[in-house]
Symmetry: D2
Subunit: 280 residues, 4 copies
């Protein structure tokens, strides 16, 4: 039976550890502060499944951890990996994947699993909604809302915001994408036509990981608008321009970990078990 070592991360790791334990798995969790008695080497000798955090790393040196931890260097981790291990994590750097491949170590990136990605859009959407309600002094109800992009996150977010009675417009690059958005009940606009229209929105959600809402567009946004950016850092909004013009704007990252760590952990748990069942 598999033995799991969970390293670093945020509260999702806690919930994941709890779920694994509840399901009868031997589990070691090392995610909160430095434990002088903890030995990564020993833990990795005991456990065969290494569950790294989402994201794998932020500084490219150590595994990411919400709490300060000094003993999670990536090099150290790699040095203890053997072909008996299977590694999981989110946004695993290319060189780590390459290392695993060469050394015949199983390596799964959560972000490459379509199931996980799709399911995570829900927690992201709910988190973005909570952020918008809190950040803005107005109501979402019957306000005008722009969503840039129409990928998975945007679709789920758009449906939920429609369910809250916002009038949604989807801005996209491609006609087919916009035809689909229209069939799902949304107004649509080409990204290239945004300049003319962006001033009329009360809420703007960006989901495109590229500078879409640049300084020029920001200068046309209503002073009463609220901008939430849920695209990967550094996001797609010129936040400096927003600050200068007094527009409420926030880069909201890692929403599933903040607003729905338990659901996120369940999703990871199911994905891990599916991978392991297909591996062995």
């Amino acid at each position: 039976m598999h033995k799991f070592l969970l390293l670093g991360g945020d509260s999702r790791q806690l919930y994941l550890s709890r779920i694994l334990t509840e399901n009868g798995f031997f589990t070691v969790l090392h995610s909160d502060g430095d434990d002088p008695d903890f030995s990564l080497k020993e833990a990795m000798e005991t456990c065969n499944i290494i569950l790294c955090p989402i994201p794998f790393t932020k500084d490219k040196i150590s595994l990411f951890s919400a709490h300060e931890m000094n003993d999670l260097g990536i090099g150290n981790l790699l040095s203890h990996l053997t072909s008996g291990h299977i590694l999981f994590g989110g946004n695993i750097p290319a060189y780590v994947k390459e290392y695993a491949r060469k050394n015949e170590i199983g390596c799964f990136d959560y972000m490459d699993m379509e199931d996980v990605t799709i399911k995570n859009t829900i927690a992201t959407a709910e988190g973005a909604i909570a952020e918008a309600i809190r950040l803005s002094p107005g109501c979402l109800h019957q306000s005008k809302c722009l969503i840039t992009g129409f990928g998975r996150c945007a679709k789920t977010l758009a449906l939920k915001l429609k369910g809250l009675d916002l009038a949604i417009t989807i801005a996209g690059r491609k006609a087919n994408q916009l035809a689909l958005a229209s069939a799902m009940g949304f107004e649509t606009i080409l990204l290239s036509d945004l300049e003319k229209e962006i001033g009329r929105y009360d809420y703007i959600f960006n989901t495109i990981p590229a500078l879409v809402i640049d300084g020029k567009l920001v200068s046309l946004v209503s002073r009463q608008a609220t901008i939430i950016d849920i695209a990967s850092a550094p996001g797609g909004v010129d936040f400096e321009a927003c600050r200068q013009q007094g527009i409420r704007a926030k880069l909201s990252l890692g929403l599933p970990g903040i607003y729905a760590p338990e659901t996120s952990a369940k999703i990871l748990y199911e994905a891990i078990l599916t991978c392991l069942s297909q591996t062995v």
Copy 2:
């Protein structure tokens, strides 16, 4: 032209003051700390419309204020009121209303205005949703949700939660109420049948200002459930029982003031102008 004096309250008073000013009205705002130069007597001689907070008072002695203020005693206020004044506020005590009536002072309670009450259900619903997303480590999506009561707040909240893909059940006392809930697309249950079913809900929102979710029912609630009580204090949930059983539960009051002070101020502004136009 009317001159407005705003006393105490929360950030709704700030936004209300700003809206009045933007619309060209002379406005005095006294809501933030003690201003040694402020004289209630003088301000009330200058202004004819006195906008008191929501709620009017919490301690029955002074006007309510989010910031500590020592110069807003109700007795003091009354002593300066003349028949040239018109008084507004939320949940104005009966004796103040009676005093106004006897002295021919115009007196309007926001809570008696059906328009205001209905419009406020929106901010309350959005606030309750934000609280639920934040309080619970899971997702609202496709979870099982119970709403006790089917008055105005419950109706708006239920529609919005349905828009977020929760499976909603309405618990009420009357068959007609439940027939209406069913026609609006919700499952229904008699309050008296809750014991058998309450264990299967992930989220419970109480809107009834009476002890509906008592200790007995709390003992049957799932340990993973989240309870949000938006009925007037002291609410309708046995919070002590929740604490003992480790169930997440929160009395969430004054949600419009917290989550949508600007929209709330606009609603008050419109109601005030309607009243004044019908008065004179």
Copy 3:
């Protein structure tokens, strides 16, 4: 045990008869053509519960029947009624109710039962939607829709049309009614302001039993619009004016009987049993 006699009506009577039989009740159905062997006198001696149709009568002489029937004169029916009978029907004429009261005959009008009325709004709404889809050569999707009135039928219809992605505006007389409509996510307009706006709607549903869409308003309606009137006959639309101007318009009555006779029969069955259980 009760014995049921069903007279006249439409296919709801057939389904009602079937449901009663399935539940073990003795049932006589007389609703389809003239049966030379049928004797109303004998049937009413055998059965104690007389289930008349919805509506009770159209010509004020005989019970309503979808099929031509010559033996259902109201006078004849009354002459056989005794205090051992209990009478049910929809829109029972006042003089029949008065006759029943004086002779101590139980008499229940479905239309006076709030439960039945509320539940029937669903079949009415679905029927109106089917009529609109069929009558118009365009799509409902993302079209502009006006609903006049905001009573029970209008509320259910509005929610369902919103669910089909129409942009709904509610026209009503009272501000409170419109505040409620707004809180439920609809645009609103005062009936008295309709002249300015009525030209922009693709679909118009009238639910008010009074001449609301008169010749003047019809002249302002778009030539491409579709009007469905679900208010009681003669409805609230000037159909002659519509005809002259080539505007698609239809008075759609009795929708539950046409589109959902089985569900309607179930609703009646439950209402009948509730009444009988409370009577004896």
Copy 4:
């Protein structure tokens, strides 16, 4: 300026002809009965854009026409085509496309245009809803509904049915597809697990063009259920088995042409203009 010849088809051709005329184009419509004065040869010499129907043909000999027409043989059409012509139609046979390619005749199949396909899902969904309301004696409201497949048509239909308060389950082959369906708020089931569950649905909509609901599954369907098949002929339901078991079932094809010919014509018009603008 282009001159348009419209041949055969259903009422979409009429609306398309009207829209072209309204937009100032020279248009010849030949779609209703035999006109002894009509000469295909002459018409094709006058017009350069030939708008064939959807579908192009049903009998593989003549163009499809809702009205009996004897002069629309495909061979005849081809014999008059020159490289100056551009041909449009729906489901154009491969050999016609090949003929066009070889002879350098522009040839566009509406069914290959993603825009058109996506937009048509709306009329298909609305038509399927109207069929279900009419076919079943019950209400859609709060009934249990199964949709097989989760392609474009199924997505649009599922969202609309959810908007009408049905409890939707999506049956599909692939886990990712079902994860997406779940994120959009639907229950899900693997097609391979249908046997256990199919008995509990009140409405079944098939969108998969393959025998999905075979005799075995039909035998497990509730006798009160209603089945609507909107997959291309011969559909994916064993209709003979349905007939034998007295289950309401209908193959509903060409719904856009029946329920929304005007909207469908507008979609075609826009697609034609886009193609022509990109061609020349």
